[in-house]
Amino acid sequence: MTWLRELFRRPAGAAASVWLLLLVVSAIVSSFWTPIDPFTTDPYHAWAAPSPKHLFGTDGIGRDIFSYVFAATRTSLLVAVSAGVLASLVGIGLSAFGSLTSRWVRDSIAVLIDILIAFPTILIAMLLASILGGSLFVVVVATGIGYGVNIARVSRAEIRRVRRTDYVLAARASGVGPGGILLRHLLPNVAPTFIVQLSLAMATSILAEAGLSYLGYGASAQTASWGRLLNDLQNYISIHPLSVVWPGLAITLTVLAFNLLGDGLRDATDPRLRVRRRTR
C-alpha cells in the first residue's frame, strides 16, 4: 500500500482523507442517532442563534440545523458512491467494449462519447426528471451517464497509449487474445488514471445532488439533503445569513475533499513523481 502512504505524506491528501473518513463516520452514526431529530419542528424556537443546544442554530420552523446537516451526510455519500460505481461501469464498459471490437465500432463509440460529453449532468437529470419525477435515483443515473462518458474518454486515451507499448505487442505475439490483453495489461495500467477520475466523479455527483435537490428534483422532502436545506433557507438569506453558511460549507468542503483526494491519488500513484522526490 505504498500509494496510501504517499497520499498521507501530502498535507492536502491527508486532510481530504480525514474529512471524508469523518463524513463516513457521520453517515453511519447519524443513521442511528442525531442530537435532535432533524425533522422535528419547534415553532417557538425558530431562528435560534447557535448555542450549545443548537450548534448551528435552528431554521424558520425550528428544526435543528446541525442535526439536519449531520443526517444529510448519508444522502450525499450514498449518492456519491452509487454514482461513482455507475460511472465506472459506464466508463470502463464503453472503453473496454471499444477496445475489443472492430475499428468501425470503436470510432463510432468515440464520436458518440464526444457528443455525450457536451450533455451537462444536470440537463440529463432534468430530461429524466421531466418523466420520472425528481429523485436521488435520477441524480445517480444522470451523473453515472454524464461522468461515465468522461471516464470513458480519459481511459480510452490511456488504453490507446498502453496498447502501443512493447509488452502488449510481445503478449500479442505470444498468442494472448484481446480479452486476455484487456484484463492482464490494459485495465491494470489504466487503473491509476481511473481511480483519480472516480474521485472527481464523486465530487461532480455531490454538486449535482445539491443543485438538483435545490431545484426540487433531487432528494424528497422526507430525506435530509444539503441542497434541499439551501432551498428551504433561500428566502431568508438577507435576514438570517448565518443559517445558510452550514449546508453550503458542508457541500464545499466535501467537493473540495474529493477534488484534493483525486489530485493526491494522481501524485501518489505516479511512480515518476515518487522517484523524483527521492533523488532530490
Binding site: 457528443i115 451537462p120 449532468t121 418523466i131 433561500q234 438577507s238 445558510v244 453550503g248 477534488n259
Partner: protein, 317 residues
C-alpha cells in the same frame, strides 16, 4: 483549413442530430403515452384519442421525430402542451437573458482566471502565489447556488448597488438596468468558473516557466517574469482556449441554477418549471437549445483555436 472546418462542421451537425435524437427518444420511450399524461388521470379514452390525433401522436415515433427535425430546420419547435404557445419564440425570448448571462459570466471568469493564474504561477515560491492557488482550489468546489446566496447576503444587507432579484419586465429596453440585474448572477458563475480557469492557467504558466525559450530569454538579460509574459503568454492563452469548450457546459449549468436563485426569466428557469408541469414539447426544445449551445460554442472554440495556434496549421498553409 477548409478541410478542417468542413470535418468539424460535419461533426457539429452529427452532434446536433444525435443530441436531438437522444432527447426525443428518451422522452418518448420513458413517457409511454404523452396524450395520457396531458389528459391526466381523469381523461376518458375518447379524450385521450382526440389529443393523440390532434398532436399527431398516432403516427410512428420515427415519423414524429422526422417532423420535429423538419420543424427545427424552419425554426419551429412545436407548441407547448400546457399553454399551446410556440416553443421556439419562447426559447428565443428567454435566450435574451441566458446568453448575456453566460457571456458575462465567461468575461468575469476570464478576467479573474487568466491574470491571477499567471501571477500565482510566477509567485509560486511566495506566500501570495500559494494563497491564490489554494483559494482558487476552494472556490472551484463552491456550489453555484451557495455562492450566489453569499453574494445576495452581502449585497442585500450592506452594499445595495446591484439588484439581488429579478430582471426588468421590459427586457433590454433599458440596457443599463438590464445589465445591472445580471451582474450578481454572472459574478457568481464567473468566480467559480474563473477559479477553474485559474488552475488551468497556472499549470500552463508553470510549464512555460520550464521551457527553453524562457531560459534563453532570461539568460539574455530579461527578467523571468518579462520572459514569461512576452514569450510564454501566447502559449498559455492557447492552452486556455483549448479548455474553454469544456468550460461552456459548466457555464450553462451554472446559469440554470443561478437563474432560479436570482429569479431571472431565462431558459434555465423556464426549463425548471416546465419539468415540474411535464410540458414535454417545451422540455425537449429547451434541452436541445441548451445542449445545442454547448455544441455550437465548442465548434467555434475549436475553429478559433485552430486559427490562432500556428502549431496546428497544416504544412503549406
Amino acid at each position: 483549413m477548409l478541410r478542417f472546418v468542413l470535418s468539424r462542421f460535419v461533426l457539429l451537425v452529427l452532434g446536433l442530430v444525435v443530441a436531438s435524437a437522444l432527447i426525443f427518444f428518451t422522452l418518448r420511450l420513458l413517457t409511454g403515452d404523452v396524450a395520457q399524461v396531458i389528459a391526466g388521470t381523469q381523461g376518458t379514452a375518447a379524450q385521450v384519442a382526440a389529443i393523440r390525433r390532434s398532436l399527431g401522436l398516432d403516427r410512428p415515433v420515427v415519423v414524429q421525430y422526422g417532423d420535429w427535425l423538419v420543424g427545427l430546420l424552419h425554426g419551429d419547435l412545436g407548441r407547448s402542451l400546457v399553454t399551446g404557445s410556440s416553443v421556439s419564440s419562447q426559447v428565443g425570448q428567454k435566450l435574451e437573458v441566458t446568453l448575456p448571462l453566460a457571456g458575462l459570466s465567461l468575461v468575469f471568469g476570464l478576467l479573474l482566471g487568466i491574470p491571477l493564474g499567471v501571477v500565482s504561477a510566477l509567485r509560486r515560491r511566495k506566500i501570495s502565489g500559494t494563497a491564490i492557488s489554494v483559494v482558487a482550489q476552494a472556490f472551484a468546489a463552491v456550489p453555484a447556488v451557495w455562492g450566489g446566496m453569499i453574494l445576495i447576503a452581502l449585497f442585500a444587507v450592506s452594499i445595495k448597488i446591484f439588484p439581488t432579484q429579478g430582471f426588468p419586465s421590459d427586457g433590454w429596453a433599458e440596457p443599463g438596468r438590464a445589465l445591472r440585474s445580471l451582474i450578481l448572477p454572472a459574478l457568481t458563475v464567473g468566480v467559480i468558473e474563473g477559479a477553474v480557469l485559474l488552475r488551468f492557467t497556472r499549470s500552463a504558466t508553470l510549464s512555460a516557466l520550464d521551457q527553453d525559450y524562457v531560459r534563453t530569454a532570461a539568460a539574455k538579460g530579461m527578467t523571468k517574469t518579462r520572459a514569461v509574459i512576452r514569450h510564454g503568454l501566447p502559449n498559455v492563452l492557447l492552452s486556455v482556449v483549448s479548455v474553454l469548450g469544456i468550460q461552456i457546459a459548466g457555464l450553462i449549468v451554472g446559469a440554470v441554477l443561478v437563474e432560479q436563485l436570482f429569479v431571472l426569466p431565462g431558459v434555465g428557469r423556464m426549463l425548471v418549471s416546465d419539468v415540474g408541469v411535464r410540458d414535454l414539447t417545451k422540455v425537449q426544445g429547451e434541452l436541445l437549445a441548451l445542449t445545442g449551445l454547448v455544441l455550437i460554442v465548442g465548434f467555434v472554440v475549436d475553429l478559433v483555436h485552430r486559427l490562432v495556434d500556428p502549431r496546428l496549421r497544416e504544412v503549406g498553409e
